[in-house]
Symmetry: C2
Subunit: 275 residues, 2 copies
DNA sequence: GCTGGACCTTCCCCTTGGGGCAGGCCCCAG
DNA sequence: CTGGGGCCTGCCCCAAGGGGAAGGTCCAGC
């Protein structure tokens, strides 16, 4: 069957078919030597239709190529993951749209709650490194593993949670640094730091933090962080404070994410030091 | 404030800011004449942050430009529409993913039901025209208006519903034609056609149609049509029939969409003549 | 006043997934 | 055998920037 007929029956444009031939995703079963005409066979329609469906879902061609070469079960599994990803993305986008609408109405609906907490002077054990966006969570896992293996004693109470400080943007290209911290009892800090390679000890002065509860880690999408930032910015604005800490990172300021570990995975909050 | 600082505070890259300046979406409040340096002011941050949020939602720059120049209420309205569109797109995509998964499992789940109906010989009043995808529904509205204004008598029963025949692909570039049809009593057809400009009368021979109920018009997304096609193709395959009618349109065949008008908007079905 | 380094400028090429068009073969029905 | 439609390659184009080169600016420190 010629490219035109195959195109009609697969709902893929001839142009797309030529591209897929070129990149090896869907090669015609025969190519006439002297004319260059492409000829396809009916059994190729199934693959072509799967490709067409995946492209309609905006799956990149590279992923399509990987997916159509999997066996049935693995492909179904991958599509399941794709579906969950679509769900999560959509939910987060929906939250962002709703927040923008409320913003335009000058309403507070969908605005996350901002609260302030006092943080006493405390001794921290820290692991600090430059990381890219993906690496931030890896660093966290590494830190948590180190902390667990060393059996570090815990500072009790709300000021004892593990947290991460983002000293710089961790986005496309500017790579942190990110510092993971764990409060420990004052009299043991230096000894502990000496005992665990990679960790350093420092004392954090007492201060106040404005923070936003973000809910469970599993329910968060990329679009939730701008929402938290927005809430903090508005909060600062209403009190006549500068929003410096949110966008730039002067010498001794950095946004911080605290992990409240629980059975069902960590609850997060997003804080910025004020004073 | 320089482009670098504005970039950090708005979370828009300098590259993007230069582009937005170039297209007039977000011009710096001052551009140094001799150096070309761009300088922004704090009040511009609000607009910049809205742009950033919209771009995160993949709203095209042209739409962003339109949206940010609307007043509050209109912008909120537009965002509401955007949210509904996101919902509909996501729901349709979700249905497509689920159908693909079931397909890979060789399950019938999520497969639309195919049924067959007998259509008797009938006289039709038709309006046929080449249209692009957007124009197909406009043609339908036009047809329905003409039909209503002329007060055409109705052929009673299930074979009396208005329907549209797609004689060719109505997609990117191939533009139809599409023919809207309304069955009328045999003895009045010619007289009626003569009385209404633009309409032609013809007799459709008796035949059978395989069809898929599509549900209410309002709940349909673009991804639902491939699902219907898929169900019909599978149905044809199981009976050893050709699926010709679904992808090509020989002289006397065409896929047809029937409108079952009701209070809550029309229910649609998707049919292909067999025989 | 000078200098170094951070910051800024324009310019050009690259990306993804094709669309559109030009110029030129090819194939097949009449 | 000829016409018209189908097909080929090759080139440029789109959005929405990213990457980097080559060079101009700004300012703080000396």
């Amino acid at each position: 069957m010629s490219i035109g007929e195959f195109s009609r029956r697969s709902r893929l444009s001839p142009k797309a078919l030529r591209l897929y031939d070129e990149i090896g995703l869907l090669a015609p079963s025969r190519v006439e030597r002297h004319s260059g005409y492409r000829y396809y066979t009916a059994p190729q329609l199934e693959r072509a239709r799967l490709v067409a469906a995946l492209r309609r879902l905006d799956v990149p061609l590279a992923d399509v190529a990987r997916l159509v070469d999997l066996d049935r079960a693995a492909a179904a599994e991958a599509l399941g993951a794709l579906g969950r990803e679509l769900d999560a993305t959509h939910a987060a986008r929906r939250r962002l749209v709703d927040a923008l609408i409320d913003d335009l109405h000058r309403r507070r609906g969908n605005m996350k709650e901002v609260d302030v907490r006092e943080v006493p002077e405390r001794h921290l054990l820290c692991l600090k490194r430059h990381v890219d966006p993906a690496g931030a969570w890896d660093l966290g896992k590494e830190f948590i593993a180190v902390v667990r293996d060393a059996g570090l004693p815990r500072l009790e109470g709300p000021a004892g949670e593990t947290f991460a400080i983002f000293w710089g943007e961790v986005s496309q290209d500017s790579d942190g640094p990110v510092e993971w911290c764990r409060p420990v009892p004052a009299d043991e800090a230096d000894a502990l730091a000496a005992g665990v390679p990679g960790l350093s000890a420092r004392v954090e002065p007492a201060h106040r933090e404005a923070y936003v509860a973000m809910g469970n880690y599993a329910d968060l999408g990329d679009e939730d962080w701008p929402l938290a930032e927005r809430a903090l910015r508005r909060w600062a604005e209403e009190r006549g404070l500068s929003d410096e800490g949110l966008s730039t990172t002067p010498d001794d300021l950095g946004v911080r994410i605290t992990y409240h570990f629980a059975e069902e995975g960590p609850d997060l909050d997003f804080a910025v030091p004020i004073d």
